[in-house]
């Protein structure tokens, strides 16, 4: 085994256009530039990226069909989305109230689609194969995290509730299973399966702009992340430590599970990124509605301002290096 870390993988990742555009967004805010992507374009970029990877995954499933390997991956994804919020909650509860602990824990249990997509971009640059069906695993990981987060709050947060309002599970389940990201991802996956080769061929011109759209989206993420980080003053030390150590721990667990179920290197990296990333769109919004006492000033800055850049800049090459040594 060669344990000398290959820095060229890190520099290669950092010097890729999507990551550089993320830095450009950070720098623009630091320099008080008026650079801004007008609304609602960033929303369109995220919808495009979800649609593209959903269709891509569906097209691969059309060819490979359903297999035990897929069922195993989905089971592993479900397991991680269920257990990560539980231990995250108890660590966070030592510092925060049950509402904030549950909301932040749920974001860690869920996933960041753009981290996953950046991982795909990294694998393609390294010419490493991966299976498109990993997208199905990603779609599966958002809902359990939301439900576990709300359950944890209901069990441990009763004392914080001034008025004993009944939990509206109908709203929570609708947000957990049918929020826009999941609808589009699962819908595109099914459309990719149903439309087959012809559908994928017709989609090709749209698919060819993937890298450009990712650059635009990461530029916007850089701008938003830099603005959000300001909200963490006062808790920055604890949250910075937690937001770096927790992805590392979750990634180690993910790599261990990938080894046990025999995933290929490419699939292992994507699975590892799903376990190590944190949601900054769907889950914070769902948790804000389900647990009104939770403060979104924690969830979004942590997931977008710390976990996302850490995974994109350091995590992806580091996790892949470890995967190369072990698998």
């Amino acid at each position: 085994m060669n344990f000398l870390f290959d820095m060229s993988m890190v520099t290669g990742n950092i010097l890729s256009p999507p990551v550089l555009f993320f830095f450009l967004g950070l720098i623009a805010v630091a320099l008080k530039s008026d650079l801004e992507i007008p609304q609602p374009l960033p929303k369109l970029f995220s919808l495009y990226l979800l649609m593209d990877i959903g269709l891509h995954g569906g097209h691969e499933l059309y060819h490979s069909g359903f297999s035990w390997e897929l069922v195993t991956v989905l089971g592993a994804c479900f397991l991680m989305a269920s257990i990560v919020p539980i231990y995250s909650f108890f660590i966070l509860k030592a510092r925060f109230g049950a509402a904030d602990a549950a909301a932040v824990a749920a974001t860690f249990g869920s996933i960041s689609a753009v981290t996953f997509i950046t991982g795909i971009s990294f694998l393609e640059s390294q010419e490493v194969a991966y299976k498109g069906y990993m997208v199905a695993g990603m779609a599966l990981m958002e809902s359990p995290a939301i439900i576990i987060g709300v359950l944890l709050y209901n069990i441990y947060g009763k004392k914080e509730q001034k008025t004993k309002k009944k939990t509206n599970w109908g709203h929570i389940l609708r947000d957990a299973f049918f929020n826009g990201s999941i609808m589009l991802l699962v819908g595109a996956l099914l459309i990719g399966i149903l439309s087959g080769d012809k559908g994928w061929h017709d989609f090709q011109p749209f698919d060819s702009i993937f890298k450009g759209m990712l650059c635009f989206y990461l530029l916007d993420n850089g701008i938003v992340a830099a603005r959000r980080l300001k909200a963490l003053r006062g808790n920055l030390g604890f949250l910075l430590s937690f937001s770096i150590l927790m992805p590392l721990f979750n990634a180690a667990l993910g790599i261990g599970i990938a080894y046990l179920i025999g995933l290929s290197k490419g699939n292992a990296l994507l699975f590892c990124l799903l376990t190590a990333s944190a949601s900054y769109i769907a889950v914070p919004a769902a948790m804000r509605l389900a647990i009104p006492k939770s403060n979104p000033a924690f969830t979004v800055p942590v997931a977008l301002g710390i976990v996302f850049p850490f995974n994109v800049i350091v995590g992806i090459p580091l996790y892949y290096y470890i995967i190369q040594q072990i698998l």
Binding site: A282, A285, L289
Partner: protein, 99 residues
Amino acid sequence: MNIVKSVKIEVILESIQVERFIEMLEEAGAHGYTVFGNISGKGQNGMLDHNCRAKIFSNSYLFTVCSEEVAQNILPQIALFLEDCSGTCFTSEVNHLKV
């Protein structure tokens, strides 16, 4: 020309709460409302953000005009609603031109 004395209720609240707020408003007897989304400004909680994909930091402005009787029914429910989410509410007497 028929001018009726009415109550105007104006609310600024988180955009993600608007759908549920409207449900509550209609159940309480309001027959109509107007919503302006994606507003920005500064309130008790600092700057309101008008640039957020998740709508989690985005805010909306909503107003409804109703009778004094309906307003008496709606306002306690708005107070209860705003206990759980960021927002503010103003009321004023207005002259409503009914055509």
